[in-house]
């Protein structure tokens, strides 16, 4: 019981379903139904649990669209945590920004598709 009180008082507001629902709400309304989109994030590769968890949460939030863990789709959703982006990496993946939805959520277009 005390563990629960402890968890309740320390829950980070930026992770978890509620935070993702809020961040991705505008994008979800903007996506065509049943679309398949790619995914790009600035999560460190070493932190597999967080990157995997955030990818699953993005998918959960954007249903009925299907989110693929690749940047090879014509449209990608970007789940960033800062505005200091690795422009070289985005360029290497042929990604060009399309629209910002606030809270570091973007859509990108793959120019090779």
């Amino acid at each position: 019981m005390l563990d629960q009180v402890n968890v309740l008082s320390k829950e980070a507001p930026t992770f978890g379903v509620a935070a993702f629902e809020k961040r991705f709400e505008l994008l979800r309304k903007d996506l065509p139904p049943h679309s398949v989109i790619g995914y790009v994030s600035d999560n460190p590769i070493a932190d597999q649990v967080t990157s995997q968890g955030e990818f699953y949460l993005t998918q959960y939030t954007l249903i009925p669209a299907i989110v693929k863990p690749s940047t090879e789709e014509p449209l990608e959703v970007a789940n960033f945590h800062t505005d200091k982006l690795n422009e070289d990496l985005l360029k290497a993946k042929h990604l060009v920004a399309v629209k910002s939805y606030g809270s570091y959520v973007w859509t990108y277009r793959n120019t090779t598709r």
């Binding site: 019981m1 629960q4 699953y56 009925p64």
Partner: protein, 482 residues
């Protein structure tokens, strides 16, 4: 409306259970047992109906509402019109529980409820598996419209699209009928299963071993923090533990009331609904059938084996048909079962895998339930103090319980060893949940075997001129304890 759907599903389940085992409408052990059983029966049948409607008529609310409405009406009509034709379940023999034990049970229930509510408030969408598997699939079914089959897309291999649909189905059904995608549906489902499992354990042991024994078992299950937490995380392991317990406890009651084969029919139904909950449910059916056959051959009347298996098949057939329809028509190949035989052999001779899995099981036996003192030691101490006393009539039931639990553990152990993936990660993230699946059934077996508790001092009768002696009942009990 958010909770009305789930309440009606529960009511329909009670109707089905009451139809098979009617009793006068009043507060009794029999009706508490029906209330507990009804939760899983109603949810399982309603979820199956949802999937059949979706598969045959698409996302059509009118068809779904008609089918589920018909189920409710028929269940209520059958349940409340049924005349008593079977034995009424009543408290078994045993000492009256002292006041402090009842207080402890109520306290444990209050703490468990507190944990469930706090966890649900903190995580209304559940934990990792809930939003990456179960509620994710429910959202696809509900939001997908005509493209509901996207729920099983091969583009989502990490979400195990071959897992059966009892939980996603009932959640999506509730959202569809209430026109509201609310977290109340998965929370209410999780609550009914968690509460139902506790009610089922207490009421079954109440019949088999009396009030005191059943209250102690109930306190232990309610005190298993991770049982309440994982229930509130909206994982499928607690619903599965409900169906395992329901099937096994129904067969135990079958042994107590051998002439009434309806217990076995319902045991077949609940075992089938377990297979509709999670893939481990299929392993459970094999384990249960095998264990029942061995136990009946060893301790029972062999002539009853065929009639019992026919009744069990009658209960199993409908949910298994739904599972088969889903697996054949919609589910992609299971990632574990698509392993090449060469890789299976390679894993079988990998000593490192054996060490990891054995270590994981042993560690989890001690950490299970997040008790202050490891529960294995608590049970060992309990056994040391009261010892086991298995009555002749309970041998068949106990043998079946132990064999089924043993087969399940062995089966899960083999899955870890033989099949693909990072075994260290698999064990770390799932072994406690696998143990929780059989935990209520393990408590049933333990308290079926444990000697009756002597919680109050036996009355001493003093007669003039003679040494003090125990009263008749107390003397009998003392003799039994020896």
């Amino acid at each position: 409306m958010k909770y009305v759907c789930m309440a009606l599903v529960w009511l329909a389940g009670i109707g089905v259970a009451r139809w098979l085992f009617p009793a006068t409408l009043r507060w009794s052990l029999h009706n508490a047992w029906l209330l507990s059983l009804g939760a899983g029966v109603g949810i399982g049948i309603a979820s199956s109906i949802y999937f059949i409607c979706l598969a045959l008529a698409g996302p059509n609310v009118i068809v779904l509402a008609s089918a589920e409405g018909a189920f409710l009406l028929v269940a209520l009509a059958l349940g409340f019109a049924a005349k008593q034709r079977s034995a009424i379940l009543e408290w078994g023999d045993g000492p009256t529980p002292p006041g402090y034990l009842i207080t402890l049970l109520l306290l444990a229930a209050a703490v468990a409820l507190g944990i469930f509510i706090a966890t649900s408030v903190n995580k209304p969408h559940g934990e990792w598996d809930a939003w990456s598997i179960w509620n994710l699939r429910a959202r696809f079914l509900y939001r997908g419209g005509d493209s509901w089959r996207d729920a099983f897309s091969t583009l989502l291999p990490w979400s195990h699209p071959d897992y059966p649909l009892l939980i996603p189905g009932i959640v999506a059904m509730s959202w569809t009928l209430s026109h509201l995608e609310s977290t109340a549906a998965p929370i209410a489902t999780a609550f009914l299963f968690t509460l139902g499992a506790v009610g089922l354990l207490i009421s079954t042991l109440g019949v088999l071993r009396g009030k005191t024994q059943s209250f102690v078992a109930g306190i232990l299950l309610l005190g298993t923090v991770s049982f309440c937490q994982i229930g509130a995380y909206q994982y499928a392991d607690i619903p599965l533990s409900f169906y395992f317990l329901a099937s096994l406890s129904l067969l135990c009651l079958q042994d107590r009331y051998p002439s009434d084969l309806r217990f076995t029919i319902l045991a077949g139904l609940t075992a089938g609904l377990g297979a509709w909950t999670k893939n481990e449910g299929l392993l459970f059916i094999v384990a249960l059938v095998l264990a029942r056959a061995i136990a009946v051959i060893r301790y029972g009347n062999r002539a009853t084996l065929l009639p019992q298996f026919l009744r069990m098949a009658a209960g199993l057939i409908a949910p298994l048909a739904v599972v088969a329809f889903f697996k054949v028509r919609y589910a992609p190949a299971n990632d574990l079962l698509s392993t090449a035989p060469r890789d299976i052999l390679k894993h079988a001779i990998d000593i490192g895998r054996w060490v990891t899995v054995i270590e994981g099981f042993v560690t989890s036996f001690f950490s299970l339930g997040t008790f202050l003192v490891p529960i294995v030691l608590v049970l060992a101490l309990y056994w040391y103090l009261v010892r086991f006393h298995v009555e002749e009539r309970d041998r068949l039931s106990l043998d079946m319980l132990l064999l089924t639990i043993g087969f399940m553990l062995a089966g899960n152990f083999a899955v870890y060893i033989l099949l693909p993936g990072d075994v260290e990660w698999q064990v770390r993230t799932s072994v406690e949940r696998l143990l929780l699946q059989v935990w209520p059934a393990t408590l049933l077996a333990f308290f079926l075997a444990a000697n009756r508790l002597q919680l109050t001092a036996p009355k001493v009768v003093v007669e003039k001129g003679k040494p003090a002696k125990r009263s008749g009942k107390a003397a009998r009990r003392a003799a039994e304890t020896r």
